[in-house]
Amino acid sequence: MSDSPTIAQVAPEADHHEHPPYLRHHFESTEQQADAAGFAMWLFLLTEVMFFGGLFTAYLIYRNWYYPAFVAASHQLSIPLGGFNTLLLITSSFTMAMGVWCAETRRKGGLVLCLILTFILGLGFLGVKTVEYREKIEKHHVPGFHFSLQSFTHPDKTNPATKNDLPLGDDMARHVELYFSLYFLMTGMHAVHMIIGIAILGFMIFRAQAGAYTSGHVTFVENFGLYWHFVDIVWIFLFPLLYLISRH
C-alpha cells in the first residue's frame, strides 16, 4: 500500500540509476524490453499468417474445384523466372541473417554491406516480378482488363510448357480468370510486403551507417530480420502453389 503522496512524488526522481539510453522507462531491464519486442513481432507475423491464410484458403478451394482450369492457367507462368526469383529471395534471407549476426557482433561495416545486399536483392525480385506482370498484360491475362481466354481454348502448340494441353471447354475456361485473380492478389500482396520491407531497409542502411544498431541495441534489426524471413517464406509457399504443382 503506497497511498502516501510524498513517496509518490519523490520516487520517480530517484530513478536515475545507470542504464543504456535505449531502455524505455516502463521496462525493468533491456532483456525484458528485447523479449517484449521480439514477442510482439512474432504475434504480428501471426496476424500476417492469418491475413495471407484467407487467400491461401481461397486458392486451395478453387484449385480443388476447377482443377483443369488451374492447371492450364499455371502453364502460362514462367518457371525459370519464378525459380530465379526464389533464388534471389533465399539469398536475400541469407544476407539478412548475416546482417543480424553482424549487428550482434557489432561489425558496422559488415552490417551495412549485408543490408545493402538485401536491399539490392529485394529490388531485383521486384524487377523480375515486373517482367512477369508485363508478360501477363501482353497476353491479356489480367482479370478485368480485356481478359482473353484465347490461350486456353486454343493452347499454343509451339510453346513447350503448353504443347500437351488440351483445349478447355467454355465452362471450365471461364474459371481461368479466377486463377489469375488469385495469382495477382497473392503475388501482389506479397509484393506490397516486399516494397514495405525495402523501404524500411533503406531507412535502416542510413541508421546502420550512423552506428545505431552496433552498440548493443539489435532489437530492431532482429525484428526486421524476422519480417524479411516471413515475406521470404510466403514466397516459398507461393512458388510451388502457383508455378510448380500442376506440371507433369
Partner: protein, 554 residues
C-alpha cells in the same frame, strides 16, 4: 472465504493527489502525443462515447420509422442506409473497442503491476487508426452512406449497390488494424510485464478475459481485412473471387467474413465478462467462485469461437452436414458461457451483497445476457433457425447480448473504475436510478422484438403489416426510456468531474493492485514496484493490510 464488513468510501486520504497522470503535463499536445496508457484510455473513452451517440441517434431514427406500419419518416433506401450505418458504427467503432480500449487500456498495466503497456507507441497508433477509420465512416455517412447492411454481403456489395461500399470497407479495415494492435499489445503486456509474484493464476479475471479476447483480435481480424480487400478489388478492378460469372463463389465471402465476425462477438462480450467478474467479487466480498474455471472458460470461448462461424449461414446454401456440425459446435459455446454465469451466481451465494450502481448493472448483465445466450441456442439449432433467422427474433437476440450484456458491463465498469480514473465518485442515487431506467427501457425495447420475430416480422424492412404495430410502439417507447438511461450517465459523470466526492485510493475496498495505488494514479502507476504476495480476490489479505497500517500508525 468469509465475508467481510464493507466500509465505503475510503475517506482516509480525502484529497486528490497533486501529482497524477492527469496533471503531470498540460496542453492538447501532451494528450495527442502521449504514450501513457491511461491517457490513451481517456482519449478512447471520449471518442467512443461520441461514436456511441451517433450510432444511438441512428437507432433512434430506426425506431421512429418503425413506429408506424407505413414508410413515412424516410424512404426505404434511406432506411437501408440508416440501419447499415447504425450497425457499422456500433460494431466497428463502439462494441469491438469499447471495454478493451478504455478499461482494458487503463487497467491491465495497473492490474498486473506494470508501468505501461509493452508498446506505448503502438497503443497511441491504434487510437489514431481508430480515429482515422471513424472519421472515414462519418465522411461516408455525410456523402451518401452505404446500404449493404454491416455485413457487406456479396454479390450485393460488389455488383448491385452504388453506395459508398469502398470507403465504409476501408473504414472497417483501418479500425480492424487498430483492434489488432490493441490485442497484440495486451498479449505482449500480459506475458512480459507482470510484477514479481504476479503468476498467471493470481491475475484478476478481467485480465484473463482480455487475454482471451486479444487472441481473437490478433487471429481473426486479419481474415476480415483480406475479405474487405477482396471486396474492394472486386468493385474497383473487377477481379472475380466472389463473382460467379468469373468462376468465383459469393459464399466464400460469407465464410471469410464470418470467420472474423463470429469471433468478433466474443471480442465484444469477453471483456464485458471480465468486468462482471471484478464487480461481482467486490460487491459480494467474496473470491470469485471457481476462479480457475472462470479463467479457462474465457479461453475456451475464444477457442470454440473459431469453429462456429457457419451458423450464420444455415440458410445460405451450405451443405446439410456442415449445418449439422456447426450446429453441434455452436452448442459447445454455451458450456463455457454457462460456467461463467453459474460461477458468478455461486459467488453471490452467502456473500455480503451491496447494491451500488456497478452491481446493479452487473445484475442487469447477468439476467439479460442469460436470456440473450439462451435464445442463441434457438438460433444455433438448425430447425428453429430456419424459422427465426432474418426476423426480429435475431435482432432481439443479439441486442440482448450486445446491448443488454455488453453495454451493461461497460457501464458497470465505467462506474466501478470511475473513482480510479478521475479520483472522484459519481453521485450514487441518480446513477442507481439510471441503471434501473436502462434496465426497464432495455426490456421494453427489445423484449417485444422476440415476439415480433416469432410472429414472423422480418428484419431490415421499413414497413410491416399493421397487426405488428402495437409491439413496435412498445419497442419505440422503450427506446425512448433507454435513451434517457444512456443520457443520464453522461450528464452526472461530467458533473462529477468537478463536484463529485473525493474517492480516495480504494473506495470499494477491492483487492486488485489497481486499488492499492493513488487515484488518479501516477503516470508511472506505482511509486514503488508492487510485489504480489497473495491470491486474487483475497479479502482477508486486505483486512490484514489494514491492521498492519493501524498498528504502524497507532
Amino acid at each position: 472465504m468469509s465475508a467481510t464488513i464493507v466500509s465505503l468510501p475510503d475517506q482516509t486520504t480525502a484529497r486528490i493527489p497533486k501529482v497524477n497522470y492527469l496533471t503531470k503535463e498540460n496542453g492538447i499536445l501532451s494528450w495527442l502525443l502521449t504514450g501513457d496508457h491511461k491517457r490513451i484510455a481517456i482519449l478512447y473513452l471520449i471518442s467512443l462515447s461520441f461514436f456511441f451517440f451517433i450510432g444511438g441517434a441512428l437507432a433512434g431514427l430506426i425506431r421512429l420509422e418503425l413506429l408506424t406500419p407505413q414508410t413515412d419518416l424516410m424512404a426505404t433506401d434511406t432506411y437501408n442506409k440508416v440501419f447499415t450505418m447504425h450497425g457499422v458504427i456500433m460494431i466497428f467503432f463502439f462494441l469491438v473497442p469499447s471495454v478493451p480500449a478504455t478499461l482494458g487500456n487503463f487497467l491491465i498495466p495497473l492490474m498486473i503491476g506494470a508501468k505501461d503497456l509493452a508498446l506505448p507507441k503502438i497503443n497511441l497508433l491504434s487510437w489514431y487508426l481508430y480515429m482515422a477509420g471513424g472519421i472515414l465512416a462519418i465522411y461516408t455517412m455525410a456523402t451518401g452512406g452505404v446500404d449493404t447492411g454491416w455485413t457487406f454481403t456479396t454479390p450485393l456489395s460488389t455488383h448491385y449497390v452504388n453506395t459508398n461500399v469502398l470507403t465504409t470497407g476501408l473504414a472497417a479495415f483501418i479500425a480492424g488494424f487498430s483492434s489488432i494492435f490493441t490485442g497484440l499489445n495486451f498479449i505482449v503486456t500480459i506475458h512480459k510485464m507482470r510484477a514479481p509474484g504476479m503468476t498467471w493464476f493470481r491475475l484478476p479475471l478481467f485480465v484473463w478475459a482480455h487475454y482471451a479476447a486479444s487472441i481473437l483480435m490478433v487471429l481473426a481480424t486479419p481474415v476480415v481485412a483480406i475479405a474487405i480487400v477482396l471486396i474492394a478489388l472486386e468493385r474497383t478492378i473487377g477481379i472475380g473471387v466472389f463473382d460467379p460469372a468469373k468462376g468465383g463463389d459469393p459464399l466464400l465471402f460469407q465464410h471469410l467474413f464470418w470467420f472474423y465476425s463470429h469471433p468478433a462477438v466474443y471480442i465484444m462480450i469477453l471483456p464485458g465478462m471480465g468486468v462482471i467478474s471484478e464487480t461481482i467479487s467486490t460487491f459480494s466480498r467474496k473470491r470469485v467462485f471457481g476462479y480457475t474455471a472462470v479463467a479457462f472458460s474465457s479461453v475456451a470461448i475464444a477457442i470454440f469461437g473459431f469453429f462456429v462461424w457457419a451458423h450464420h449461414m444455415f440458410i445460405m446454401g451450405i451443405s446439410n452436414y456442415a449445418v449439422l456440425v456447426f450446429s453441434l459446435l455452436t452448442m459447445l459455446v454455451a458450456v463455457p458461457s454457462a460456467i461463467k454465469i453459474f460461477n458468478w451466481t455461486f459467488t453471490l451465494y452467502k456473500g455480503s451483497i451491496t447494491f451500488e450502481t456497478p452491481m446493479l448493472y452487473t445484475f442487469g448483465f447477468m439476467g439479460l445476457f442469460t436470456i440473450g445466450g439462451l435464445t442463441g441456442v434457438f438460433l444455433g439449432t438448425s430447425g428453429t433457425d430456419i424459422h427465426l433467422t432474418e426476423t426480429y427474433f435475431i435482432v432481439a437476440h443479439f441486442h440482448f447480448v450486445m446491448v443488454g450484456g455488453m453495454l451493461m458491463a461497460f457501464l458497470a465498469g465505467i462506474h466501478f473504475w470511475w473513482p480510479k480514473m478521475t479520483g472522484r465518485m459519481y453521485p450514487e442515487k441518480i446513477s442507481q436510478l439510471a441503471a434501473v431506467v436502462t434496465f426497464i427501457g432495455f426490456n421494453f425495447t427489445f423484449f417485444p422484438q422476440f415476439i415480433l420475430g416469432t410472429l414472423g416480422m422480418p428484419r431490415r424492412y421499413a414497413s410491416y403489416p399493421p397487426e405488428f404495430q402495437i409491439l413496435n410502439v412498445f419497442s419505440t417507447a422503450g427506446a425512448t426510456i433507454l435513451g434517457v438511461g444512456y443520457l443520464l450517465p453522461v450528464l452526472y459523470l461530467t458533473w462529477s468531474l468537478k463536484y463529485g466526492a473525493i474517492a480516495g485510493n480504494n473506495p470499494w475496498q477491492a483487492t486488485g493492485l489497481e486499488w492499492q495505488t493513488q487515484s488518479p494514479p501516477l503516470t508511472e502507476n506505482f511509486a514503488v514496484m508492487p510485489i504480489m504476495d497473495h491470491e486474487a480476490y483475497d479479502y482477508e489479505w486486505l483486512e490484514r493490510q489494514k491492521e498492519i497500517k493501524v498498528t504502524h500508525v497507532g
